[in-house]
Symmetry: C2
Subunit: 106 residues, 2 copies
DNA sequence: CCTTAATATCGATAATAGTCAATCTATCAA
DNA sequence: TTGATAGATTGACTATTATCGATATTAAGG
């Protein structure tokens, strides 16, 4: 779903209002899980990864992997492309940059 | 508590191991809540804030505010100093910078 | 001391989130 | 068309978390 509004001032400049806080918290929550962080870093390192190649390194079942990829995708942090029976995931670097900026990147 | 280990390579460079993922997830989880994000941004904007001045703008009870400041402090993101009956909170900018770096700051 | 005030802690509750087995859907191959 | 495979969805269970009332703790001030 990727709520498009992570643009504005950083968290250290101006007090966030409720909507800004909710939007940013939603994206941060997607990253605030060890399995999803590992998943994200594997995808980032390999460029493109099939869902089927995530179960083994993460030690989680297929439905659980599917659940985590869905959350990361809804947060706009990864994008999936279906090719035949497989879904190939890549990260969305601009979205991650938005998060850094929201956390006060110079 | 502020686990000191957020130094290393960013999440987009190398796949995180379990320990790195757990440490980073812990700090991100502290930020991944709307109330704590607002709290953090209020403290950042004002430089120093007393706990007693957080209940009203955040619309939460005193025990809840105390709970959230504790989580942020345990993540190393804010520091509290007791002066008389009051606790004054300030942010830890280096800790926030560590998070940005872990998320791939250039 | 005793009272008041700021904060922390405890206990309970309701909501949220991670996990997996079972099942459904879509795609490909024979 | 049938069988096999990748992924999504559902349902149930458990664990975690946000919240607040009640209580404890600590520090002035009189």
């Amino acid at each position: 779903m990727a709520d498009p509004t992570l643009c504005c001032a950083s968290v250290v400049e101006t007090p966030l209002d409720r909507v800004e806080a909710a939007n940013l918290a939603h994206v941060l929550a997607a990253l605030a899980d060890p399995i999803r962080l590992q998943l994200f870093s594997i995808v980032a390192a390999q460029g493109e990864v099939c869902s089927c190649d995530l179960e083994a390194p993460l030690g989680r079942s297929q439905p659980t992997i599917s659940h985590h990829t869905k959350l990361l995708a809804e947060a706009g942090l990864i994008v999936g492309e279906k090719r035949g029976r497989w879904v190939w995931w890549r990260i969305e670097p601009t979205r991650l940059a938005d998060v850094r900026k929201a956390l006060g990147a110079d």
